[in-house]
Symmetry: C2
Subunit: 499 residues, 2 copies
């Protein structure tokens, strides 16, 4: 028992350092004067170094070893055993990577960022390619150091999505492509059928802010245990289950961009507010994966917030905030407008139908790069070819192509989480509908607590005791699968576009 | 040379941890939802423990020892030697205190805070006395552990005001009492001569906020390297010379409380923005003492901000913000109103004339307590007696008496810094006037940069290379002395009250 307490104390220290870094990061993105950036960088680097030293203390390794022996007879989901398992995973990942390689990755990443900024100026991926190649080589070295079964890319996919392999991720995307590509083509021929002009007007800042607050308060984001601020790129961060921060960014020349970013981040935020408090300050009190996190944001942004039922509930409120802008707009009109779908070049602007195709482009390029079957210099060509195949459009230059996302200045393997998030959100919706009955009816009546309660029990309170598959099996009866998402998209968009 | 670099790296790590704590503390007081308090407390405790472990690493002691030998031949104000000296001071203070005692102090302080809150409910110091006694005993133990020459209280005074002894502090307060007490009595008979009614009206929030921003922007607080937010109790904190945060608190039912708190904190803030960047992340890049820090806030709040010259400059601006409230108010009227003086019970509301008498009450009680000549239970009686003697008024209960300040839940020795601040501000004003000429004339013209520049050179850029006395000797020709402050008060208030 003392061993476990000892482990807990070590984990608490490491967690507090992570949370402190999160506070510094939040401030950096919200309130910090730009001049504070240099000192903030030093502070964050120091906290990261101390975190690494604390977390990778060999004494922790000894404790884990001893506790693994102690707990061998316990069931897999025994919380203490689960904590040791989850901690072991993180510990091995941190200790297997040589410190020199970690430092070199950081330098390469900083250099890649500089090169990316410069390349974007010229809109030419070629200027980014050398730094990108270096990062790719180091990522491969990392994968070798950690070890994999099938291919180096497995390690990078597994880092964000524990338990997922490159091959299984590829199958997931294949299923999504098979299920959605024909629909994309049919919709592309009918984009003129939806009128979005009412969204492109002046929408006052305060009203937009308050509309978002109203919606996510109704959803159940607890503002007594969190708050919303403003940042250039909206994000969610947590300093503990009782202090969760979301941000938004509002464009007064249109609706509902800022509104949906509030809904999206509040989905992340409610997950953080629902994590098991009894495992706070330990890896067990954290989200299962980036993809499961994204499932919560997508759930509230899309499955709830872009449903017809939601607009039946919310349109009267929206009209109070925007009486002139939404005069004469009925539920059907706003529902169709916020679900407009069309092939587009930029991932972050993509709709529910086309979004996963953007992920497929990136995932397939990453996998080929890591396997050595594609060279960094050839990325723009591969990009254009895939965009043409999946979306029927080609970027006019690399700025709206392979240079659009910042992710590749930091490494590989994180994009797949977005598709995992979409897929999981639909699976959970299906599971919740089975258990709770007609969710749309509840949403129409403004009753969001049954859904939130179901997510609290089946997803949030789990922490990372279970894997994504195990959580899904328990909550929905089946492991990660694309079919519910495909069914959801097909049904929703066939109706909208009269197909 | 490598030794010095090694020391610097260790100091940088410790400093980054302090700054990180400062960010967490700032957020706690400005934006954090109340529910976040428990987790924030854990995070701050972890950072403090890590800071202590880093800073008191025995290897740092070895380095200091070796560098002291290396630098013996260098002049005292050689920066590297100064850094070693200042670091040694802090290192000894941290290492001489047994960790058990530090932990016990923290527990006793937490208990004292609880007792203080409860005692304030009942307005009875007696409920606070037992916890207060415990804190006093531990403070004495700390003093014994660190060591002193004359009396235990020396250690506590020296902690905030390096180089100051209890005896010298007492002499300073005696001089202030001698110089000011007769004036207090004369003014008390004439308080009716000043009309403050124009200050007690509705003053809109936004206009008050902007008036404060305008004034301190003119003073030279750099909002590109800092910002102002709102907190219940205004404060200043720094995350680096390029990121200094001040806060204010505005009461819409009156002026100029929030305005002067902005001026006060901006004084602190400009000091932090002017500290030597080349010694950032080391003790040499910090303020000399709490008292010198306070001299900068008092300088801008009082010597500048409550001067007739300032209101000649600022009244037109104030009238733009408050056209109806200040209609018909001339410079003389506002100048007299913001300098209203009268004996009062609450230190934080005290004016320039009476302020130091409040400090004398506390200082003399603390000194007697530490010397054992006063028992905690007898504090209220001693308080009333001193208040009667110095200010001619007695608190109706302990809430407006010995329970009014939070300071005694944390220890002893910090009050004297306020008087040091007042005294130093007048000394520096005298020094600056000698070097620059008529400061009032500059202020009247809105030219604040000569004064700020002089403070930058003579105080801010010094960091903590010199002691308070040495800084003052170089800047003004004389060490810490009360006379300039007494002269300033006498001259200003005799004129205002026609004495």
């Amino acid at each position: 028992m003392d061993r476990f307490k000892d482990l807990l104390e070590r984990l608490h220290t490491a967690s507090d350092l992570e949370r402190a870094s999160a506070v510094l990061g939040w401030d950096q993105m919200t309130y910090m004067p730009a001049a504070g950036n240099a000192a903030r960088g030093e502070q964050l680097a120091t906290l990261a170094a101390l975190w690494h030293r604390e977390f990778t203390d060999p004494a922790t390794g000894d404790l884990l070893q001893a506790l693994e022996d102690d707990y061998q007879g316990r069931p897999q989901d025994d919380p203490q055993r689960a904590l040791v398992r989850v901690t072991r995973r993180a510990y091995d990942k941190q200790t297997k990577l040589p410190q020199d390689l970690v430092a070199e990755m950081q330098r390469a990443s900083a250099a890649a960022y500089e090169a990316w900024v410069a390349a974007r100026e010229e809109r030419r991926f070629a200027l980014f390619a050398p730094a990108f190649r270096r990062l790719m080589q180091l990522s491969r070295e990392s994968a070798e150091a950690i070890g994999y079964e099938q291919e180096p890319y497995d390690v990078l996919v597994d880092a964000d999505e524990p338990g997922l392999t490159a091959e299984r991720a590829a199958q997931l995307l294949e299923a999504l492509k098979d299920g959605i590509l024909p629909l994309v083509r049919q919709i592309a021929e009918r984009t003129g059928r939806i009128d979005r002009s009412m969204l492109h007007q002046d929408y006052p800042y305060e009203a937009q802010w308050q509309a978002g607050i109203d919606a996510v308060t109704a959803f159940g984001f607890d503002f007594a245990r969190g708050r919303q601020d403003v940042s250039i790129h909206p994000f969610t961060t947590s300093f503990g289950v009782d202090d969760v921060r979301i941000t938004t960014n509002i464009d007064v020349q249109g609706f509902p961009g800022g509104f949906y970013s509030t809904l999206h981040e509040a989905g992340h935020g409610m997950y953080e507010q629902g994590l098991p408090a009894e495992w706070a300050r330990t890896p067990l009190g954290q989200a299962i994966s980036g993809g499961v996190h994204e499932s919560q944001s997508r759930m509230w942004e899309n499955l709830v917030g872009r449903s017809r039922a939601f607009w039946e509930y919310f349109l009267p409120t929206a009209k109070r905030y925007f009486p002139s802008q939404l005069a004469g707009v009925d539920v059907d009109a706003i529902y169709r407008a916020v679900n407009y779908s069309a092939p587009s070049l930029i991932r972050v602007d993509a709709d529910e139908v086309t979004y996963n195709l953007h992920i497929a482009v990136r995932f397939e390029i990453e996998r080929a790069l890591l396997a050595g079957s594609l060279e960094p210099e050839d990325v723009p060509e591969a990009w254009s070819e895939k965009m043409r195949t999946y979306l029927g459009i080609v970027p006019p230059d690399d700025l709206s192509g392979a240079l659009q996302d910042i992710h590749w200045t930091g490494g590989f393997g994180s994009f797949i989480g977005y598709s995992v998030g979409n897929v999981v959100s639909a699976q959970l919706w299906q599971g919740a509908s089975r258990d709770l009955g007609d969710l749309d009816e509840m949403i129409r009546a403004g009753a969001f607590s049954p859904l939130l309660g179901w997510l609290r029990t089946n997803v949030h309170a789990v922490g990372s005791t279970h894997s994504t598959d195990e959580m899904l099996r328990r909550a929905t009866g089946s492991p990660l699968t694309a079919q519910p998402y495909i069914d959801y998209i097909q049904k929703k968009y066939r109706a909208i576009y009269g197909l």
